[in-house]
């Protein structure tokens, strides 16, 4: 990965800061648990692996979200793409469960991509609309109740089981990560993604098929959300209403905390990985501290704002 060719550029700064903040969270959490319970669960590999297993779902969603943010768009249809994929996968069942679930993601991505690239509707509005449509369709499909169908064995195996003591979900996350890094660094598609995010007009006038690239990006994002949905259904053994709601904001936050420019064109995947880990650990430390939900939300929001303020300072000098 890129960490090998490490040089301190402006893209690396946020990644270093986020990594440092992860250390701060771990230290603060450990000091707290040590003082309170006399133990340090945060530093035990078993606990960390369990947290990362939960983080894998967010990680996969964030990988797709990052691609869309890099071309200066956004995908707000993630929550119900995720839920719809999970619901369709469980209701179809059998060997077709996973392909159908992923197919839902591709389809939603295609619709999003065509709406943004060809119909020229701003992605913030279009994907928000698609999210509402998907939600309506799923309520119609399930009658508004939790679906009675369960996840297939393969889904449970991929999301819940372990191989050599490591959760399988982590392997899936790793595979997705490798794929994204290859796309962004080794493929012309990746170069086009950065080019479009920096200046769509210039990319277009350089003969880049910007509309096709945009559609591909939304398809990848839909696919990632669907994959996360299928896995999450496997992890909880079934699909449920609103299962994707907790993933929209954190996935955007992870991408941005990892140093990807919310306006597109700049950012490294390593940053997104670190952003996901940061958010997962922050959540888990807050829950260990038995912080009430209200306080958790406040701290969570403040951390995101604080991190972006820190990054923003470096930026102004260069502009």
């Amino acid at each position: 990965m890129t960490a090998a060719s490490f040089s301190l550029s402006r893209d690396d700064r946020p990644i270093l800061i986020a990594a440092a903040f992860i250390v701060v969270i771990l230290v603060a959490g450990t000091v707290y648990t040590f003082a309170r319970f006399g133990s340090a669960p945060l530093l035990s590999p078993a606990y960390l692996l369990q947290q990362l297993q939960i983080g894998a779902f967010l990680g996969i969603v964030s990988a797709g979200m990052m691609i869309v943010i890099l071309i200066a768009q956004i995908d707000l249809s993630v929550p119900w793409t995720l839920a719809a994929a999970a619901m369709m996968a469980t209701s179809v069942g059998g060997p077709l469960a996973i392909p159908v679930g992923l197919g839902v993601g591709v389809l939603v991505g295609l619709v999003n991509g065509v709406g943004v690239a060809y119909l020229r509707v701003p992605s913030m509005i279009f994907t928000l609309g698609v999210n509402a449509v998907m939600r309506g369709l799923m309520v119609a499909h399930t009658g508004g109740y939790a679906p009675q169908t369960g996840a297939t064995d393969l889904m449970r195996m991929l999301a819940g089981d372990r191989t050599l003591g490591i959760p399988n979900a982590l392997f899936v996350w790793a595979a997705v990560s490798v794929l994204v890094v290859v796309i962004l660094q080794r493929m012309s598609l990746g170069r086009y993604i950065y080019a479009i995010g920096n200046k769509e007009a210039a990319a277009y006038l350089a003969g880049v098929n910007t509309r096709r690239v945009t559609v591909v990006c939304f398809v990848l994002c839909g696919l990632a959300a669907a994959l996360a949905g299928v896995l999450l259904a496997g992890y909880s053994t079934k699909a449920y209403q609103g299962m994707g709601d907790a993933y929209l904001l954190p996935s955007i936050a992870a991408v941005v905390i990892g140093g990807t420019n919310i306006l597109g064109g700049r950012g490294r995947y390593l940053g997104t990985l670190i952003g996901v880990v940061l958010i997962v650990l922050l959540n888990s430390v807050l829950s260990i501290m038995e912080m009430p939900e209200a306080g958790r939300q406040v701290i969570y929001g403040l951390v995101i704002i604080f991190m972006l303020l820190v990054y923003g300072r470096g930026e102004r000098v260069t502009s």
Binding site: R186, S188, R191, N198, G265
Partner: protein, 513 residues
């Protein structure tokens, strides 16, 4: 006016001004002075330090050392508005207008006239009208959105906005580079009036004839140093160019080879688009450089965009190397061997924050890839070849392209397209705001490409350039080609006359009458 004390005569004085950017010297110990009622040209290649000088005077950046005196008292401007308050107003090369606001809004953006604390739209409009008529451009409607104006008119608005601040010292940084000839005349007249009123004017331009026509005095900068200041007429153009680049330049333009009838590479027949292109027929042979002339906004840019597949609803026949094509996008145009150097390199030609290497390779990634994967070895070789071929001056190809000077940026745009091996090269005013040295390199390169068999269609607002570079020039007027000039007919008089769509004989006759 009372006779000025010679020690008091300099309105603005700089002493020992130095400025570095991240270790790179931009200005070094510069002493400089300019007077009221004089037009003072500042000359130098891009990167010579002119822009930094101006930014320091206008309060955009602060010098590392040195002193600045305005009207005899020491000043240091922390912000551009502080400079404005002292009567120092600058019109920058990059336009600073808000495209979605009206002309009137833009002109009064810093201090709109108020009534009861609210913006007085009527007064604002009147003010815009007055200022525009001061320049002689009453035909610009103050209520139009700036976005809808052609580049030339936007520059006029920019000038009106500066005038609205009632400058004592007016700085124009390439402020006429996009003006059409007609607007240039008006701006010249306005500058003459300001000069008569005792305003000090600092003027940066890359067009030598403009400097000759306007300036009372000129200062040459090179590599961040002030080389020489001299009064009008004391130095020949050749001398000045010599001072600017510090090396000999044999000929302004490369010689044109004798033309023999070449096979047409690009042929268009009855090309029409909305109301901007009207039955355009033209054919360009291999090895030919054809100029597009005429006043700004007569359809030249639309023609280039139509050929490049950007415009929807173009009718007519377009053949490339005897095959009829209908490019529906730049990607399609690229695949038949067409390249376009667009009008605005900063927004259309380059992804500024991306590296020089990424910008160079972006148009030829398909050819540099094996399947969907980029072949990094081949990519690096191709990039190095392009950099060497165009002699792009850079530290490292991984630097952001925004760190290059304007001329080198334009070379990157051109190099990007040369990497695709185009048969047809469309150039949209590629030398705008570029220093003399780079311009000449571009002229040579164009001729070299033509000699290798490329067909070049070259739009320029600089008539000199069209005459010097092109084998043939077609003049557009109101979306039509009204005249084709070549050989001895290719003269400035003929271009100007045809641009105004008047008969050359009539023009000559009128001059005699």
């Amino acid at each position: 006016m009372p006779v000025a004390d010679p020690t008091q005569s300099a309105f603005l004085e700089l002493a020992g001004i130095s400025k570095r950017y991240a270790g790179v010297r931009a200005l070094e110990g510069v002493d400089f002075a300019c007077e009221r009622g004089k037009i003072h040209a500042v000359l130098g290649e891009n990167g010579a330090g002119k822009s930094t000088l101006i930014k320091i005077i206008a309060g955009v950046v602060q010098p590392d050392s040195g002193r600045m005196r305005l009207a005899g008292s020491e000043v240091s401007f922390a912000t551009p508005s502080a400079a404005n308050a002292a009567g120092v107003v600058c019109i920058f090369q990059e336009l600073s207008l808000m495209p979605d606001l009206s002309v009137a809004d833009n002109i009064s953006i810093a201090s709109p006239p108020r009534r009861f604390g609210l913006i007085d739209a009527k007064a604002q409009r009147r003010r815009a009208e007055e200022l525009l008529s001061e320049i002689g451009c009453e035909d610009v409607n103050p209520l139009r959105r700036v976005r809808d104006l052609p580049l030339s008119r936007r520059q006029v608005v920019e000038i009106a906005k500066a005038l609205g601040k009632r400058p004592q010292l007016l700085i124009l940084d390439e402020a006429t580079s996009a003006l059409t000839s007609a607007d240039v005349e008006k701006v010249y007249a306005m500058l003459a009036r300001l000069k008569a009123a005792g305003v000090a004017i600092l003027y940066i331009s890359h067009r030598m004839h403009e400097v000759e026509a306007l300036a009372d005095r000129a200062s040459v900068f090179r590599n961040g140093r002030h080389i020489e200041t001299f009064d009008k007429g004391r130095r020949s153009t050749a001398d000045i160019i010599q001072l600017m680049i510090g090396r000999d330049i044999a000929a302004q333009y490369p010689p044109k080879p004798a033309r023999n009838a070449a096979k047409p590479v690009l042929a268009l027949e009855n090309l029409c688009w909305e109301r901007q292109l009207d039955r355009i027929s033209l054919s360009i042979g291999a090895g030919e450089i054809v100029g597009l002339g005429g006043l700004d906004g007569q359809g030249q840019k639309s023609l280039l965009l139509a050929l490049f597949g950007v415009l929807r609803g173009v009718t007519g026949r377009l053949t490339v190397a005897d095959r009829e094509v209908r490019p529906g996008s730049p990607a399609a145009a690229k695949s038949v061997g067409i390249a376009l150097v667009p009008e605005d390199r900063k927004t259309e030609g380059l992804m500024l924050p991306m590296s020089i290497a990424d910008n160079l390779a972006i148009a030829s990634l398909d050819a540099l890839s094996t399947g969907p994967f980029i072949d990094t070895g081949r990519e690096r070789t191709a990039i190095q070849r392009a950099i060497a071929r165009l002699q792009i001056k850079l530290d490292a190809a991984s630097d952001a392209v925004s760190t290059l000077s304007g001329g080198n940026q334009q070379k990157v745009v051109l190099a990007k397209w040369l990497m695709t091996d185009p048969r047809i090269i469309l150039l949209n005013d590629p030398t705008r705001g570029i220093d003399v040295g780079t311009k000449q390199e571009l002229y040579r390169l164009m001729r070299e490409l033509a000699d290798q068999g490329a067909a070049i269609l070259f739009y320029s607002t600089d008539y000199d350039e069209l005459i010097g570079c092109c084998d043939r020039v077609v003049i557009m007027y109101d979306g039509r080609i009204v005249r084709e000039l070549e050989g001895d007919d290719l003269t400035e008089t003929n271009i100007v006359a045809s641009s105004l769509n008047v008969d050359t004989d009539t023009a000559a006759g009128a001059a005699h009458a």
